[in-house]
Every structure is written in C-alpha cells, then in structure tokens.
C-alpha cells in the first residue's frame, strides 16, 4: 500500500466511505421492506449481508492458507 499515489488513495477513501453509507442504508432498508429469500435461513435479519461478509473473509483466509501448499516459483514448470 506504500506506493499508492495520492489520487488513488483519495479515490480509495471515497469508495470506502460510500460503501459504508450504502451498506448502512441497506441494513436500515430491511426495517421498511419485508425481505424474504429462497430458503428459510435467508429470511433471518441481515442474512445476506452477514453471509456475504463472512464468506468473503473465509475465502480470503483459505486462499492465504492455500498459498502454503500450492504456491511455487513462477518458472516451476519450465
């Protein structure tokens, strides 16, 4: 993250703030709209939000773990 140029950094901050605002709006929206899913579990409050967040973190954590087993130098096959 060290060689971020100032413009990119500004855009990153803007995007992060925007995401937080949209996320909060969506969470609040649940109070006003009855949300239901295809399976019963999905009807739990904020289920897609929590599941989406957790799944993403899980994927990245497992991905990092996989690097220990599956990562080789670039010219491995050459």
């Amino acid at each position: 993250m060290s060689n971020l140029n100032p413009n990119l950094k500004k855009m990153g901050n803007f995007a992060s703030i925007a995401l937080v605002i949209i996320g909060t709006t969506l969470a609040i929206a649940e109070l006003f709209v009855h949300r239901h899913g295809e399976i019963a579990l999905e009807d739990l409050p904020l289920f897609p939000a929590i599941y989406g967040f957790a799944a993403s973190v899980f994927i990245v954590v497992v991905g990092i773990g996989l690097r220990h087993f599956l990562m080789r130098r670039e010219d491995y096959y050459d």
Binding site: M1, N3, L4, N5, N7, L8, M11, G12, A15, S16, L19, V20, I22, G23, L26, A27, A29, E30, V33, H34, R35, H36, G37, E38, I39, L41, E42, L46, F47, P48, A49, I50, Y51, G52, F53, A54, A55, S56, V57, F58, I59, V60, V62, G63, I64, L66, R67, F69, L70, M71, R72, R73, E74, D75, Y76, Y77, D78
Partner: protein
C-alpha cells in the same frame, strides 16, 4: 437454404479467410456469420440428415434448447471479429471462425457420431488460437490442451459405440447413467466442462493463447459441454454435487493467482459450476436457469477477457503485480471492465442478476439448502475475484507508473456492444427469458430480492475494503499456483518415469537375449552351411544310442495307448 446446419457456412468461409485482404476479410467473416445465423430461423425439427453405412446421421436438428445456444454463439463469433479487427495476421481469424462454426454445428448435431465429429473439430481448430502466441511456453500448453481435448473426443466416440450396441440408437437425447457407454460419454462431456480435477487444461491453456485467442476460447468449448449436459444428462443428481464443488474450489485459486487472465479462467470455471448444478436439478425452471446463465455468461466473460486483453495489448502483460493505476490512461476500457465485473457479480440491473436469479430460485425450490449456501458463498467469491480483483488491480490499486494509450477503436467497439448487451439483459428480463427453452413467468425485480442481493454484494465489497485497509488481503505475488494440471505435468511423469525406465531396461534386456540367440542360430546355420556333410557317414555310438532311445519311447507309447 435454412436446411444447412448453422455454423457449416462459417467453416467453409474460414478456408477463404487467409486469401482475403485485411478489412475485406473482416467484413467477409461478419457476412459469413450473418448468413450462418440465417439457418437458425429454420424452426424446430430435423432439417438435414444423411445415411452413411446404414446409419442415419442427423446433421441439423433444432429445438428450443439449440436455439439459445445457436444465437449466443453467433453473437460471440461476431463480437470476436470486431474485437480482432486490428489483427492483420490471418491465423487467429481462420481458426476462430472455423472453431465457432464447429461449436455451432455441434449444438445442432442430432446424433452422437455427428456430435463427435464437431466435438473434435472444435479441439483441432481452437488449438491454433494458442499456437498463434508463438512462444515455446504456448506451444507446450497447446499440445497439452490438444491431448486433453482429443482424449475427450475419443471417450465420446467409445461411449457412443458402446451406447449404440446397448440401446440400438445413436440419437443424442436424454441418457441414464449406468452402463460403461453412458459413463464414458458423461466423462467426455465432463472434461470439456472442466469438472473438478479434470479442469487443469482450462486454466493452463486459455491464458497462454493470444489476446484475441483467449477471448474466442472463452465462449465456445465449455458452453458446448454445458449444452451437451443439458441435452444428455438433465436431472442427473451427481451433477448437483459436482457443480457445487465447481463453484467453490476455483474461487480460492482465483484469489491467490497473479495472472489476471488465469484469474478469469478460474472464474469461468466457477460460473460453469452454477450451470452444472442447475442441469443436475433438471426441472424446467432449472434448465431455463442454466441456459440463461450460459447466455449471459458468454457475453460478460468475453467482455472481461476483452478488457484485460486490451490492457495487455497496450502494456504487454496481464500480471496483477505489473499492473495498476490505469484508470486515467484507459478510462473507457475501465468502464467496460467494470460493467463486465458488475454483470458477473450479479448486481441488479446487470445480466448476471437476471440469469443467476433463476438458478438460485430453482435450487431454493428443491430445498437444497446446503447447495444453496455453497452457491451463495461462491457468488460472494465471484464478486471478490472477478468483480473486485480484476478491475481493482488493473485500473486502481498501486500505481504501476504505466501510462498507455486507450485501447484501439475496434476493441472499444466490441466492448461497448458487449456492455450494452449485459445491461439490456439486466434491465429487460421478460424479453430475455423469452429465448429460454421453456416458458418462464418470473420477475426477479422485487424489493425483497433487490435488497437481499445488494446486501450480499455490498457487504462482500465491504469485506474486501476491510481486509485491504487492515493489510489482511493477500498481496499479489509473482508465482505459479498449482492446479489439477499438476497431476499430468508433474505427478504422472514423476511416478511414470521410473516405471518407464524399468520397462525400458527390461525390454533392452529381452532384446539383447533375442539378438544374441538369433546370432547364435545364424552362426550355427552358417557353420553347417559352410561345412556340408558329404559322402556316406558311419553312425557313431551316440547316434545308435539316440536311435535306441527313440525306438523305446515309441514302443512304450504304443503299448500304453
């Protein structure tokens, strides 16, 4: 005129492509594709069959399932011609046109032998898209690709002949797994559909093709397999589990892969998983979902490969470690890339949303809770590696210092058309659903569904931001990530070479023995030849003893019998 199988005209036209001057050639190819597409209007039924050796080969069969694949394959072929307009060499154009034609003809095959012929034609034509890269690395990948593809074809042929002996027909219709024949056909399809552990060729070969080659490859081979499964094995329960595994595993690999075209190859594999799950369910709703997803997927996947290809065309690399900060230099490419990314991530108003919603509904309707949760997690994963990683590491992220020109006009035009299609499918679901095999009255846009989907994608994006800000996100590393092609590139050679060496030694030993005994026989014969027995010879005592022994044996045998 419409009786001619769609696609065949494209294959014939491909023969003339190398002899035409540059711009005329591109126009000629678009014309050939349009003419070929005209055959799609033939309507349902068998339009062309020939009798060969007492077998009825159905060259042109059309119904509700072939039509959507026929349409999208023609659209993809047309987009490829526009995207590759700048390319003056004819190799990729010839191969690409013939390859697309073969895939289209395969979709319209009414029997397994015709299917086999086009199945192999797609393999043989498409390998030139990889060879056209011209590097040693690409040549090797191309040969591995060809071996796997031809193996799939051989299995299809073997399965077809067994199936014919068993059932007495070669007609390509719904099959029931059980006999060796049907299993061989199933596996042949499975190789091309990049099943788990059979998927190595996909991530190995696609990123080694040329820029245009990868875009062309992304559309046809795997979706032909999806079509074949939908026709032959709809409702086969194994497919639900295989498909669920396909959606999940590639996601982890995509997160740590550095080559962005390879990341897209993993995400292609993951998308195929959604379609395979739907085919495994096999209800009308689910098959509609699989076809809708294949249709939408071909466009947004091509769009993503096109945008990364344009970047590669300008800066010469698609490695995340070497890219970044291109948003200012290639703003239009960035916008198109993000449209592709939002489509594949299933943002409402984009094509992935209207297509995937049908599959999710079908899975939910069957009460497959575990599979549903896997697909939902995989959707978050898609967003992660294709939706965020691809545009982020290319156009934002760290500044690579590269300041290339915007992509050439023809590339932008192809991406613009693909983008329009992505959005059109996203905003006009009712019209889109009309091309599906079965009638579907479904409205994906209700407040509940929109909010749920937005929550999923926005919070997955928040997770990315969170991991990035706190330094948990794995940095891009120049590396090779092992995939199932390791099995035949490393494991089998490692185990195989000692066995082969031993077998070789044995055969040399055996050879030596044969050679030395042959030499002895030869020299003995020569000796006798050179020293002929001449004149009357009195038998010695040994000869008399041998004669006596033979006589006694004969007597004994006579007595006993």
């Amino acid at each position: 005129m419409t009786d001619i199988t769609p696609g065949i005209l494209m294959i014939i036209a491909a023969v003339f492509v190398p002899y035409l001057p540059h711009h005329l050639r591109q126009i000629f190819m678009l014309g050939a594709i349009a003419l070929s597409a005209f055959s799609l209007s033939a309507g349902a039924g068998i339009h062309w069959s020939v009798s060969v050796l007492g077998q009825e080969l159905i060259l042109h069969h059309a119904d509700n399932l072939t039509l959507p694949f026929g349409i999208i394959f023609h659209i993809a072929a047309g987009l490829n011609v526009i995207y590759g307009w700048h390319e003056k060499k004819s190799m990729e154009h010839t191969a690409g046109l013939a390859y697309a034609g073969a895939a289209i003809a395969a979709v319209h095959a009414g029997d397994l032998i015709t299917l086999f012929i086009w199945w192999e034609t797609t393999a043989i034509t498409s390998v030139f898209l990889i060879l056209a890269s011209g590097t040693e690395r690409a040549n090797k990948a191309a040969m591995r690709y060809l071996l796997v593809q031809v193996a799939s074809g051989v299995m299809l042929l073997a399965g077809a002949s067994l199936y014919w002996r068993e059932v007495g027909t070669l007609a390509f219709g719904a099959m029931e797994l059980g006999s060796l024949g049907t299993w061989l056909i199933f596996l042949a399809f499975g190789i091309k559909a990049a099943f788990p552990l059979l998927n190595g060729w996909l991530q190995d070969a696609y990123p080694e093709a040329t820029i245009l080659g990868t875009v062309i490859l992304s559309a046809f081979t795997t979706k032909l397999a999806i079509y074949a499964f939908a026709r032959g094995f709809a409702g086969t329960e194994y497919l639900i589990w295989i498909g669920a595994a396909m959606t999940a595993f590639p996601v982890f690999f995509a997160v740590i892969e550095n080559d962005l075209r390879r990341v897209l190859a993993y995400s292609l594999n993951n998308q195929l998983g959604f379609m395979i799950v739907a085919i495994g369910i096999g209800t009308e709703l689910a098959i509609n979902g699989a076809v809708a997803h294949a249709f939408a997927h071909i466009i947004y996947k091509a769009l993503l490969f096109m945008s990364i290809g344009s970047v590669m065309y300008r800066v010469g690399t698609a490695k995340a470690t070497e890219l970044g900060g291109l948003y200012k230099s290639m703003p239009l490419t960035m916008i198109f890339c993000i449209i592709g990314a939002m489509s594949i991530s299933a943002f409402p108003l984009f094509s992935g949303f209207t297509a995937k919603a049908v599959i999710m509904k079908a899975v939910g309707y069957e009460g497959l809770v575990f599979v549903y949760l896997v697909l939902l997690a995989a959707s978050a994963g898609v967003l992660h590696h294709s939706g965020i990683k691809i545009p982020y590491f290319t156009f934002f992220g760290h500044d690579s210092g590269l300041r290339p020109k915007e992509a050439p006009f023809n590339m932008l035009a192809a991406m613009a058309i693909a983008s329009v299609l992505c959005i059109a499918i996203g905003v006009m679901p009712t019209q889109f659903y009309q091309i599906l095999p079965y009638s579907l009255y479904y409205q994906p846009y209700d407040a509940s569904h929109i909010i749920g989907q937005f929550q999923l994608v926005i919070f997955a994006m928040l997770a990315f931001t969170f991991l990035m800000r706190f330094g948990f996100y794995p940095p891009e590393i120049v590396s090779t990530v092992l995939n199932s092609d390791w099995l035949y590139r490393r494991l089998i050679p490692r185990i195989g070479s000692p066995v082969l060496a031993a077998a070789n030694k044995l055969s040399i030993m055996g050879n030596n023995i044969i050679v030395s005994s042959a030499k002895k026989i030869m020299s003995g014969t020569l000796y006798v030849y050179k020293h002929p027995i001449t004149g009357p010879v009195a038998p010695g005592p040994a000869a008399i003893a041998l004669l006596a022994l033979l006589m006694s044996v004969l007597l004994l045998v006579n007595l006993l019998s």
